[in-house]
């Protein structure tokens, strides 16, 4: 019955494929403005990245990425509705127009890019990792021979399990669940030796579900880093640009040293780049179909990328993740601001 519900959830957007007529030619920007709300795909509960808090208010890095877009388009960080989606629902939901943006720990892959969605700007870089109980005494992939691994469908990790197993001849035994929480529960009940998913999500699971987080170790499954990237539908280039530059604004602000606290002060800045960025020297926003001060509004409402990171997954959060790959390029990370001009 649960599954039937899920199938219905998959089929409902499909029905819109069958029946929708070509009349809806409005752009995503027009649709969102007319609706007055932005609709974002969200996770089914990954604290730090996207989950409602005790009061039902959505928090997390992905969630705030979406709020940044809402500020840029609608001028209000709370003008967003979040639709929790499972791994396999998320892409059809975006393609069929159920949601406007999909920031949900989604890895940028060629197959996804080629098959109907477009990626905007990575908001989180990380490796795929294994989490194991420390009591098993294993701390690297090569020692995992014969381990059973809890995997959730709807992710790139199923393929990673197979790649790792083949590469190191480990004979890993995957146990595949179609539901995120089922995979996590099976791991903590001891059904599997290891749980595989993005390292950030593993840290989130460890902080929120483990009885004693120190009993578990997380280590990389592959030497490769993935870019988790919010995606939009194909065929609306303006919307792609809006989402991309809204996320870019967060990164660029950190690079300029603009924070939520000093944003107003920075409006007086003499630096022509900063003036263009904040919109005191107009032109950028209107080119995207937004207000010229959209970047200023984003920073005023949410702070820059660094502040967002610390608040949700970094040192001021239970996850305590290092900036690592997600530091600015000048601090040795991969976050690179593009030119706002």
């Amino acid at each position: 019955m649960m599954d039937h519900l899920k199938l219905t959830a998959l089929l409902a957007p499909m029905a819109s494929l069958l029946l929708a007529t070509a009349a809806q030619a409005a752009t995503t920007l027009e649709t969102v403005k007319e609706r007055g709300r932005l609709i974002c795909g969200a996770s089914q509960g990954t604290p730090g990245f996207g989950a409602p808090d005790g009061d039902g208010y959505w928090r997390g890095l992905d969630v705030e990425t979406c709020r940044a877009v809402a500020v840029a388009v609608l001028g209000d960080k709370d003008a967003v509705d979040f639709v929790p989606l499972s791994g396999q629902q998320r892409i059809p939901a975006l393609q069929t127009g159920e949601i406007d943006v999909l920031p949900r720990t989604l890895t940028w892959t060629l197959q996804r890019d080629a098959n109907g969605i477009n990626f905007t700007q990575p908001n989180y870089f990380e490796y795929t990792g294994f989490m194991m109980p420390k009591s098993l005494g294993i701390a690297k992939v090569e020692d995992m021979a014969g381990a059973s691994v809890c995997v959730q469908t709807g992710s790139t990790t199923e393929v990673v399990v197979n790649d790792v197993s083949t590469k190191h001849q480990l004979d890993l035994q995957p146990v595949v669940f179609d539901n995120t929480s089922a995979a996590r529960q099976a791991f903590f009940s001891g059904r599997c030796d290891a749980l595989i998913t993005d390292a950030g999500a593993l840290a989130s699971v460890r902080a929120s579900m483990a009885k004693n987080p120190d009993d578990y170790i997380i280590f990389p499954a592959t030497p490769y880093v993935d870019a988790l990237t919010p995606a939009v539908r194909q065929g609306d280039d303006q919307w792609l640009d809006i989402v991309r530059w809204s996320i870019q604004a967060l990164i660029a602000a950190e690079n300029f040293g603009i924070t939520q606290a000093n944003a107003e002060e920075m409006l007086q800045s003499e630096d022509p780049r900063i003036a263009r960025f904040l919109g005191t020297d107009p032109g950028n926003g209107t080119a995207l179909g937004l207000k010229d001060d959209f970047a200023y509004q984003i920073i005023k409402a949410l702070g820059n990328y660094g502040e967002m990171f610390d608040r949700n997954v970094g040192e001021h959060s239970p996850l305590k993740l290092e900036r690592g790959y997600n530091a600015l390029y000048k601090d040795g990370g991969l976050m690179f601001p593009l030119a706002f001009q």
């Binding site: 019955m1 649960m2 599954d3 039937h4 199938l7 998959l10 089929l11 499909m14 494929l17 069958l18 029946l19 929708a20 007529t21 070509a22 396999q88 892409i91 059809p92 393609q95 069929t96 197959q111 996804r112 080629a114 098959n115 109907g116 969605i117 098993l136 294993i138 995992m144 021979a145 014969g146 381990a147 059973s148 995997v151 469908t153 709807g154 992710s155 199923e158 393929v159 399990v161 197979n162 197993s165 083949t166 890993l172 035994q173 995957p174 146990v175 595949v176 669940f177 179609d178 539901n179 089922a182 995979a183 099976a186 009940s189 001891g190 059904r191 030796d193 539908r233 194909q234 065929g235």
Partner: protein, 380 residues
Amino acid sequence: MLRTLWYSSRLRGWTAQIALLGGLACLLWWIGGNTIDNLAERGIRTGFGFLTRPARFPISETVVAYTPSDSFLWAYVVGVANTIWLSVITIGLATAGGLALALARLSAHPMLSRLAAAYVTVFRNIPLIVQLLFCYGVATSVFPAPRLALNPLPGVFLSLRGVYAPALTLGQGAGWVFALSALLAAAFALTARRWPANVPTAWRVTGASGLWVLASIVVWWLAGRPIGLESPVLTGLNFRGGSYLSPEFTAIIIGLSLYTAAFAGEIIRGGIEAVGKGQWEGGRALGLTERQIMFKVILPQALRIIVPPMTSQYLSTVKNTTLAVAVGYPELGLIVNTVINQTGQALESIMIMLGVFLTISLSVSLLMNWFNARIALVER
């Protein structure tokens, strides 16, 4: 002329039919064309070309051989095989369990019949998904970790990873040993019939089977012991070798069978009770025992009543196997979900799933209808 045509009910009937059919065809045409337009507009790639590409994702347990380098098409076949395997075992167990339940409920023993009634009440009134999750919860919480596995019999290990038991290993010449042993069985069975008439049947059976076992062991020894037992061994994190029953499979089989048995039991009981009391009385008058009456007189007649509702019960069982995704058993539904995610080709995948379930269900229906026709009362 026109007037007669206008009032011809036959012609009007036909016109209405044709108009309806035409309308339906137009609607389907419109939906089809519209879908293609919408898919193209949204940049969604369509077609079944992806089926030949390698699937690359693992499947935790399979009835037919599978490696991640096989194609998406083969992954579907694996899913269909798992679904059928699951359905067949569940239907078998649930039917046997249902018969036992029905007989228990009809028995004169008050304790037995009330227990059976309580069973039916409990299992019919709890949602299946809850029962499955409960079974899986039990399977993954009451047993110890593999390193502390329970070892009730030599070579049998119970742990959170499931049940590991010794497996038969077949070496060169194993087939010959089996064939010879079968021949020996036939030979001993035939000679046992020719033993003197005063030897009781029980003796014949024990004697002949004892001799057969001894002779088979001799054959196995002479052939160079080609058949062996391989016990699972704990190496590293898990057991290797032997045969294996996963907690996922166990949970879905037990959960689904217990649930379906409750329904099957009620259908069978209904069938038995619908056979007239006169049949029992007739049987007793002929001097048949109660058991003989039940199995030779009542049940064959009850079958006619049982088969049609049982068919729909079997059909819903086949469809219920899709709930196995909840406990992580890779039946067709789970594989379809994974394929959709890997390829993004939701429409095609769902269409394949619809086609497969329709085929399985229609086959079950046809088989049961044939069986129903065979056992129907031949009226002369």
